[in-house]
């Protein structure tokens, strides 16, 4: 069964926190659609590439989401019955200068 035939979910990714870095590493395209079978580590990898950063964490309700969790599990446990998109946050780690 190909992933491209999977049911999709809609996500909205907002950057976590504020402070002096507020305008840095903001995702220009924050609305994301992907397969219900994609796992959090797939999403993290795509985000790392887009933001050109070594580490991006995905959070729901201020808590990091486990890497092996699929988006369907996340949806059913956190967002069941609510309209799309599922709101997630991300936090970034840069190398210290």
């Amino acid at each position: 069964h190909y992933y491209r035939f999977d049911e999709h979910v809609l996500l909205c990714l907002e950057k976590q926190g504020s402070g002096k870095d507020k305008s840095k590493h903001i995702l220009q395209h924050k609305y994301v659609r992907c397969s219900v079978r994609a796992q959090i580590h797939h999403l993290r990898r795509v985000l790392c590439r887009r933001l050109e950063l070594p580490l991006v964490l995905v959070l729901f309700d201020n808590a990091p989401v486990p890497d092996s969790m699929t988006l369907k599990q996340l949806w059913l446990s956190c967002w069941f019955g609510k309209p799309a998109p599922l709101l997630l946050h991300y936090s970034v780690k840069e190398k210290r200068r």
């Binding site: 069964h1 035939f5 079978r37 797939h42 795509v46 369907k72």
Partner: protein
């Protein structure tokens, strides 16, 4: 060969700066499995095109028709659609209506202004 297999089954991530058009996982005929479809009129509205011009310009995009009742039934089986999103497409019983759909594919999504990223299952 190996690369081909990877290519044929990677995750597609679609990124956009505006709200994405909803798409629905539907089985449009008994002879094939479910896949993803946009509502044709949503796509035309966003592209500001008429159906005739769209189909003349992009004859390779697949368009299908589903009876509205069947469309609603399949929507109601989804676990990731909210009741109000299903409700949106309800019509009074008895109304003989159909829904026109256009198949979800990366090329169409790019046309709608999204960026597409691929990610292999493992790597």
């Amino acid at each position: 060969q190996e690369e081909d297999e990877q290519d044929s089954d990677r995750f597609v991530f679609e990124f956009s700066d505006k709200q994405l058009l909803p798409c629905y996982n539907l089985q449009v005929s008994v002879s094939r499995g479910p896949c993803n479809w946009f509502i044709f009129s949503d796509v035309l509205k966003r592209l500001k095109l008429s159906s005739r011009i769209f189909q003349a310009r992009f004859p390779h995009f697949e368009v299908a028709t589903l009876p509205k009742a069947e469309f609603q039934h399949q929507l109601s089986l989804s676990q990731v659609l909210a009741p109000e999103e299903i409700q949106e497409h309800m019509v009074p019983p008895g109304a003989a209506e159909t829904v026109e759909l256009v198949r979800y594919e990366p090329e169409l999504v790019r046309l709608l202004g999204s960026e597409v990223a691929f990610e292999a299952w493992s790597s």
